[in-house]
Symmetry: C2
Subunit: 343 residues, 2 copies
């Protein structure tokens, strides 16, 4: 499959990919010769281009138009042609500053980060917060709200707070709530949230519990608090991709926006990206979002102080400025990890 490519072919392919990324228009032999000052005639370039087309690296929208890179070409480009730009000092500063300024807990930082990613890349920035359930339990607290309402507040190690309003038939005194809290804090000490949940379910079926109404209720309430869906995902800069010429077509635009309507779905798709370390690049149909075609995804994982892992990245058209976006995603992931580690 992977035919050997001569240096010249590679040069030309690179030129075409980069031209196309820059202009969004099919690039012809003429433009390549002109813009890249290769010591070759257009005819020669045409020959090479014909080869590349045969190899499935280029297509032409119609006979008398230039060529457009295929996904395979982008893949090749990303794997072995692209010269990654350095993240500039200014960009670094911006990322750091934004991170600092957010400062309202983990989620605040992550939300701001998705903004930053979007504004630096000029595409959509996304951040998937680390799953709450894989974080380590830190503290639970019950606060009496009404006669039959209790607010359960659950804090995990990375400082994320989940709260759940729970109704119950019985009425609790404040001291009941404290007793319950102590008991449960003991019970879940050092476990992850999902382990804690399992432990609670076990405990609920213990014999002694059948007679301790109070504790049984406490367990029930905690179970509810602990079983939060609450995985957060931040998508920012959707309006930005409207500037991309490929989305001038209303139909395509709808596709993209539809895809981002239900974040639940999105979350499931993105989970696949979290398996590997380092920057991951998904081009077009490789991307888990493939339903809405023509979209590429560049992601990297980050870790929190409590060793849970989240995902951040950029979504844009396949025709994306890989050379600058890849380093930005990489740098941002490292930086966020570092920032969170300080916590």
């Amino acid at each position: 499959m992977d035919v050997e490519l001569s240096t010249r072919s590679r040069q030309i392919l690179e030129a075409i990919v980069e031209d196309y990324i820059a202009t969004a228009e099919p690039v012809g032999s003429g433009s390549v010769a002109r813009r890249h000052a290769l010591p070759l005639s257009t005819a020669t370039i045409r020959n090479v281009m014909a080869n590349l087309e045969e190899m499935g690296l280029l297509t032409s929208p119609h006979t008398s138009a230039g060529r457009v890179p295929t996904e395979k070409a982008y893949r090749l480009y990303v794997d072995s042609l692209v010269a990654l730009r350095q993240v500039s000092r200014d960009e670094k500063k911006l990322i750091i500053r934004r991170c600092r300024e957010a400062g309202a807990g983990l989620l605040g930082i992550l939300k701001e980060t998705s903004r930053t990613l979007s504004s630096l890349s000029n595409y959509m920035g996304i951040v998937v917060a680390p799953s709450f359930t894989s974080d380590v339990f830190r503290h639970i607290e019950f606060i009496r709200i009404g006669s039959h309402k209790v607010l359960a507040i659950l804090v995990s190690s990375n400082g994320t707070v989940q709260n759940r309003l729970v109704e119950s038939d019985t009425e609790f005194s404040q001291s009941d709530l404290i007793t319950m809290g102590n008991y449960l804090n003991e019970l879940m000490q050092g476990l992850t949230i999902s382990q804690a949940r399992k432990r609670i379910l076990e405990e609920m079926h213990t014999e002694k519990m059948q007679y301790d109404n109070l504790m049984l209720l406490a367990l029930r309430m905690t179970e509810q608090a602990v079983s939060g869906e609450g995985d957060e995902i931040f998508v920012e800069g959707q309006a930005r991709i409207l500037d991309q010429p490929e989305f001038n077509d209303v139909g395509r635009m709808k596709d993209v926006f539809r895809a981002f309507e239900q974040k639940g779905q999105l979350l499931k798709l993105l989970e696949r990206c979290m398996s590997a370390d380092g920057v991951q690049i998904y081009i077009g149909s490789e991307s888990p979002l493939s339903q809405s075609a023509g979209v590429s995804l560049i992601t990297s994982r980050f870790v929190t102080s409590s060793n849970t892992v989240g995902l951040l990245g950029v979504i844009g058209p396949t025709r994306m400025g890989y050379s600058s976006v890849i380093p930005i995603v990489d740098y941002t992931a490292r930086l966020v990890s570092r920032m969170l580690a300080e916590t």
Copy 2:
């Protein structure tokens, strides 16, 4: 300015507005006669239409096209022509069910409500959560997270929880934190969050505080927790308006999406809508979002159990199905208020 309109003129205007709402296309004298079975010839209708145009209620995009209602016409239509549809039993059921199912605290309900509004109206649903700062303080709690990090958790009467991670130079023991909590709970009892904030600032300058380092720190931390921006606004169903033919134009679409990018801005604009009771209708340039033209806004306030007030509504094109959307917004606001009152 408000010239008397004959019954016939009003009938015709109503017909035109409704036709245009249904079809999004300039409506001519022919269609009016056909679709609404008026006992009039097209010529007569034409005369009337010419009058209406002169009054600034209609415009024609060009000589040989039909007429399109102006904002003024919509205003008139909404004020005195429209026959409001009843909210159907099914719709009511849906609203209630969605509300029930959400159930994860105030914000959960509101988020779901914005979804519901969007799906029932087929436009964008928006909900502005009641401002946290005007709610009544209920409880504050400090939880030790790291050696120099404390998580301050602030609960208000309607069950909303704000949490803020605070760093400090001093190290606190758990019992310190409890003392602080007790003191502050006492101090802010019965105040609204913004009153509480004022109280704290006063207290910080009290003479006795200058010597009680612990309490001074506690106040500082609380001040941070209390000064949260955290006003939430939910916008749902943005993709839906892409189906509206007026937004087939990419430029206009961009406008709208841009406007919704920074929710902070949006919030400020919407505040204006919260002054009056009942359903508010803003047509085109009347709407606080007027920058992105051609948009109407229908809102109504709702109240929580602790008497703070929020806003909910629908955003759509000026050519909006007022007859069904107005009752939906009205009903939803009432229902949400009722649901929250039960808390």
